[in-house]
């Protein structure tokens, strides 16, 4: 079992969380966005080795947040809420 940190609830079992995608993958704005921009948004992933920034949601309390972790060691470095106030653990 791995513990993730919800910015509101604190340390919880990883099974309470759901992956939401890479942080910073912004949805194209407007109908004029070119096809390659949409393809990049929908299908292309960086999948880096090492430090990653990902969006997660704590399904029990509904908190959306950005988690910084290491994809090799699985060490969690930080969790910061996406509510605009920047609550962090």
């Amino acid at each position: 079992m791995q513990l993730f940190h919800c910015p509101f609830c604190g340390a919880r079992d990883e099974t309470e969380f759901h992956f939401g995608g890479e942080a910073g993958n912004l949805r194209p704005d407007g109908a004029d966005a070119p096809a390659d921009r949409w393809a990049n948004y929908l299908y292309m992933r960086d999948n880096p080795k090492g430090a990653v920034r990902e969006v997660w949601v704590h399904m029990n309390c509904g908190e959306f947040f950005v988690m910084e972790r290491d994809s090799v060691s699985h060490q969690v470095l930080s969790s910061t809420s996406l509510d605009g106030a920047g609550h962090a653990q």
Binding site: M1, C6, F8, C9, G10, R12, D13, T15, E16, M59, N60, C61, G62, E63, S81, D83, H87
Partner: protein
């Protein structure tokens, strides 16, 4: 025509249902109103006229009216009386939704209650958590202490599953103690 109802365990009568073992007992609690408050919780608190002191996971609630934190901006209010604040959205920035029929309240007491909790969740009851919404027995539940007992709110549609889980695990605990 086949009677498919035979495949399912009959739904307990929640008014009288009890699992009573030598080391713990669980029964449902009726007669309490439950409503969710979302949004600006401090403003709601002023509108209802009670202090905002919500309990988190395994926190200690007291009395017939109290609040339980289930998210950063959401409370589960438990009260013997109906809400004096009208349901729906309020311009002050909060919403009130009655969920009395949607969630069933169970209460566990006895020496083995902690053993049951240990099998239900990975969360340390001694440390608690800001939100009382936790994974408990494989489902999302709201869990806190009330007096000497542990109260658990579960979705009514999952109550029969939760009841069968407690019966099975309770049997395992009794076997281990024998």
């Amino acid at each position: 025509m086949r009677n498919l109802a035979e495949k399912w365990t009959a739904m307990p009568d929640w008014q009288t249902a009890v699992i009573d073992t030598p080391s713990f007992a669980i029964r449902s609690v009726s007669g309490l109103n439950q409503f969710l408050v979302s949004g600006d919780l401090a403003t709601w608190s002023k509108a209802w006229g009670i202090a905002l002191q919500p309990v988190g996971a395994f926190g200690q609630a007291m009395g017939d009216t109290y609040t339980v934190q289930v998210a950063r901006d959401r409370l589960l209010v438990v009260s013997a009386l109906p809400s004096t604040v009208a349901q729906g959205w309020h311009e002050q920035g909060f919403a009130v939704s009655t969920v009395s029929a949607g969630m069933l309240i169970f209460e566990i007491e006895g020496a083995a209650a902690a053993e049951l909790v240990a099998r239900a969740t990975t969360l340390d009851p001694g440390k608690g958590s800001a939100s009382a919404a936790i994974s408990f027995a494989g489902i999302n539940a709201v869990v806190y202490r009330h007096g000497e007992r542990i109260r658990i709110h579960v979705d009514r549609s999952l109550a029969a599953y939760f009841w069968s889980w407690v019966a099975t695990v309770g049997g395992n605990i009794a076997s281990a103690e024998a």
